[in-house]
């Protein structure tokens, strides 16, 4: 390490990697259903892609977590987005591509993708 600038660069880089060790309050929590049903339907690649995308875009306020069975196994893989003060958004039948779009549109730009949510899926089923 030859200079202060080098030290600061290393610090910023490391900080990103260690961000999850905080009990942050204003975080967006993205939860992937990882019960047997979810995993069987392909939740693991979705989770991996989600983690990658969040890391790539440096979204420090986003926590990726997983949970058990939500109870709507027919709609797995299910991903839910929790934001303080807002209603939770439930995405269903996620794929790697869909989750990448959700990161870009919802987490970065703040616009939930309605057509991927459970509301849209149920409406479709009724038709």
């Amino acid at each position: 390490m030859k200079s202060l600038a080098e030290l600061q660069a290393l610090r910023d880089q490391m900080k990103d990697q260690m961000g999850i060790r905080h009990d942050a309050k204003d975080n967006i929590r993205v939860v992937v259903g990882m019960a047997t049903c979810g995993i069987a339907a392909g939740a693991r690649p979705v989770l991996q892609r989600l983690t990658e995308e969040v890391a790539k875009r440096g979204l420090k306020n986003v926590t990726v977590a997983q949970t058990g069975c939500i109870g709507i196994c027919q709609y797995e893989p299910v991903v839910e987005v929790f934001e303080n003060g807002k209603e939770k958004v439930t995405y269903v039948k996620m794929t790697e591509d869909k989750i990448a779009q959700v990161v870009a549109e919802h987490l970065v730009n703040g616009n939930p993708i309605v057509e991927y949510t459970i509301g849209a899926a149920q409406a479709e089923a009724k038709d």
């Binding site: 390490m1 030859k2 200079s3 202060l4 030290l7 600061q8 290393l10 610090r11 490391m14 900080k15 990697q17 260690m18 999850i20 060790r21 905080h22 009990d23 929590r29 939860v31 992937v32 990882m34 019960a35 047997t36 989770l47 991996q48 983690t51 990658e52 969040v54 890391a55 926590t63 990726v64 977590a65 997983q66 949970t67 058990g68």
Partner: protein, 595 residues
């Protein structure tokens, strides 16, 4: 990028209860379910809640698992890491709520704490310099080297009001200014890591959990006083701390944060470890430096003070581990921030090692001015078994016992001295009604008799005589005259000893004489130990009404002191009885009484 971090405590407490095996089991299990790319296992320093070890925290959930066993690991991996279901039965009970996991800083143990010196302990991997850097590590050194003059550094430390955490409470900034003012071709900085008070382990935990903070702070001190070499005098009995600190020094050297031309500023600094051989007196500054010189570790009179003539006769600034641990944050956050914590004359926080008769044994860091009641009852969780608080011992063999009437006194350097104890290094041992104060005084005197280096007579002979008098009293052979003699001798030793060891050795006797004189009198006049501890004064007897003659006590008695025939009441021969209490433990009818 890892989506989950598993932090396992690697402090001495948790390591001795098997955290090493837990880490290995975790890594194996995580691999076998194919999560090694997603989950990172980190061994950290001490979390502080040693009573509940081994401890594990899993982020991002922040789930705090306590008393984890190797056999629990597959369940944690399968349930929590793979399926995302927190294993409720292993959670620290206080964090369990109806539907969510309560955050750790909301629990009674952590709520009132303020972590400054222990900031990184239990948060970072102590063997990875990059994690320290991520938490603003070496930023203070960078700031000092590029933006501040040595005078400004000393002024900041002075203005912060930081006082030596080793026990003396001398103003750190002032010590540094003395060191800076000394003219010499070579100066040294040194760190006192010879933590010897029975029951105190905060320095060890800092070295184990955050070793780089000591390196950084010593480099800052060296810059401030014009030194370029440092020594850490550390006990060889702290193997994990020695190993991690050496590892940290090697890492810092590798990336150029130790050595020549640090951060391209032209400042040179390097340091080395010196292992102590386990002598308590080497925690005294002049003895410590004499030991580093390669001589027998004995104190010498002051002046000259170490800042004039210290290691190898050169000006030396010596600070305690916890003192150093505060320095980088004072530099980064400013003197004003530090001054805003604590009481008028004692600024900042203090780490206490809670031990004895208390629920949450462990390390706690609280702002100066917190009361003993808050520490014992709220953070410490009170005394087990519904027993009554009798006293708290602070400052180890140099300190005294604080009775319950002072539970609400705000703790700082000056208040503790006023009530006859001292801060010392911060050991805090809680005693309940089953503790005999004569026995406690005797215990500490036995320690100082053992550890007195023998150089000066008041300490070498005085502590021995004091111990003998205490021994006599505990056996019921003392006289009321002995109490006055003891008190006189105490003051004599305090006034005439060469170093801090002798000057403070009588404190446990003086403070117990002051607050618990009635117990001494009970031992002398009634030949009775009120707490039922001093063996010679105990009498075991069998209540013939309750004894069924089961012969169990006679079988278990190692001295053959109990006789009697089956189904007839037995008797104890007091002449043969060793007072071990084995019969009392075994008796199923409560027929054996201790008087």
């Amino acid at each position: 990028m890892y989506r989950s971090h598993v932090l396992v405590c690697g402090g001495t407490g948790c390591t001795s209860s098997g955290s090493d095996r837990i880490v290995r089991a975790l890594e194996n299990n995580i691999k076998s379910v194919g999560l090694e790319q997603e989950v990172k296992v980190i061994r950290t320093g001490c979390f502080g809640l040693c009573a509940l070890g081994p401890i594990m925290i899993i982020y991002p959930e922040g789930a705090f698992y306590s008393r984890v066993n190797v056999d629990d690991v597959p369940e944690i991996v399968e349930e929590h890491l793979l399926k995302g279901r927190v294993v409720k039965r292993l959670l620290y009970q206080e964090t369990v709520q109806e539907d969510t996991v309560k955050s750790l800083d909301q629990t009674d143990f952590y709520k009132k704490q303020m972590r400054v010196a222990l900031k990184n302990c239990g948060v970072i991997d102590p063997e990875n310099i990059n994690e320290y850097i991520a938490y603003d590590g070496y930023a203070a050194l960078g700031k000092v080297l590029t933006e501040m003059t040595p005078e400004e550094v000393i002024k900041t430390v002075k203005d912060s009001g930081l006082r030596g955490r080793g026990g003396g409470g001398f103003l750190t900034g002032q010590k540094w200014s003395f060191g800076a003012a000394s003219k010499a071709d070579q100066k040294y900085v040194a760190c006192n890591a010879d933590e010897g008070d029975p029951g105190a382990f905060m320095d060890r935990s800092i070295l184990e959990g955050d070793p780089h903070v000591i390196i950084e702070a010593m480099a800052i001190a060296a810059y401030a006083i014009g030194a370029n070499h440092g020594f850490v005098y550390i006990r060889a009995e702290y193997p994990i701390a020695v190993q991690r600190l050496q590892h940290a020094i090697d890492q810092a050297r590798e990336v150029g944060l130790l050595g020549k031309n640090i951060l391209g500023t032209g400042f040179d600094f390097d340091m080395e470890l010196r292992l102590g051989a386990g002598a308590f007196v080497c925690g005294e500054e002049t003895a410590l430096m004499t030991s580093i010189d390669g001589k027998r570790g004995e104190p010498r009179p002051r002046p000259p003070f170490p800042t004039t003539a210290g290691i190898f006769g050169k000006p030396t600034v010596l600070n305690n581990v916890e003192t150093y641990a505060n320095i980088p944050q004072i530099i980064l956050k400013g003197a004003e921030w530090f001054r805003s914590i604590g009481t008028e004359k004692s600024k900042g926080t203090k780490v206490f090692a809670l031990g004895g008769k208390i629920h949450n044994t462990g390390l706690v860091e609280v702002p100066m001015g917190t009361t003993l009641r808050e520490i014992v009852e709220e953070i410490g969780g009170g005394i087990p078994g519904g027993k009554k608080f009798k006293a708290a011992q602070t400052g180890g063999p140099s300190g005294g016992c604080i009775p319950d009437k002072y539970l609400d006194v705000p703790i700082d350097y000056d208040n503790l001295i006023e009530i006859g104890s001292m801060m010392g290094s911060g050991g805090l041992i809680v005693m309940d009604e089953d503790t005999c104060m004569v026995d406690i005084a005797k215990f500490y005197l036995e320690f100082t008799v053992d550890e007195s280096c023998g150089k000066c007579t008041p300490c070498r002979v005085g502590t021995k005589r004091l111990y003998e008098m205490l021994d006599k009293i505990s056996k019921g052979q003392g006289t009321m005259e002995d109490l006055d003699k003891m008190e006189d001798l105490c003051y004599y030793i305090k006034e005439n000893s060469l170093c801090g060891l002798g000057q403070s050795a009588p404190n446990p006797v003086l403070s117990t004489l002051k607050y618990f004189r009635d117990e001494y009198i009970a031992h002398i006049q009634d030949k009775r130990c009120p707490a039922g501890v001093c063996k010679e004064l105990l009498q075991y007897a069998i209540d013939p009404q309750k004894c069924r003659g089961c012969t169990l006590c006679a079988k278990v008695c190692p001295a053959g002191a109990i006789t009697g025939t089956v189904k007839e009441p037995h008797v104890i021969d007091p002449g043969k009885c060793l007072k071990c209490g084995a019969c009392m433990e075994k008796c199923r009818f409560g027929a054996i009484v201790r008087k």
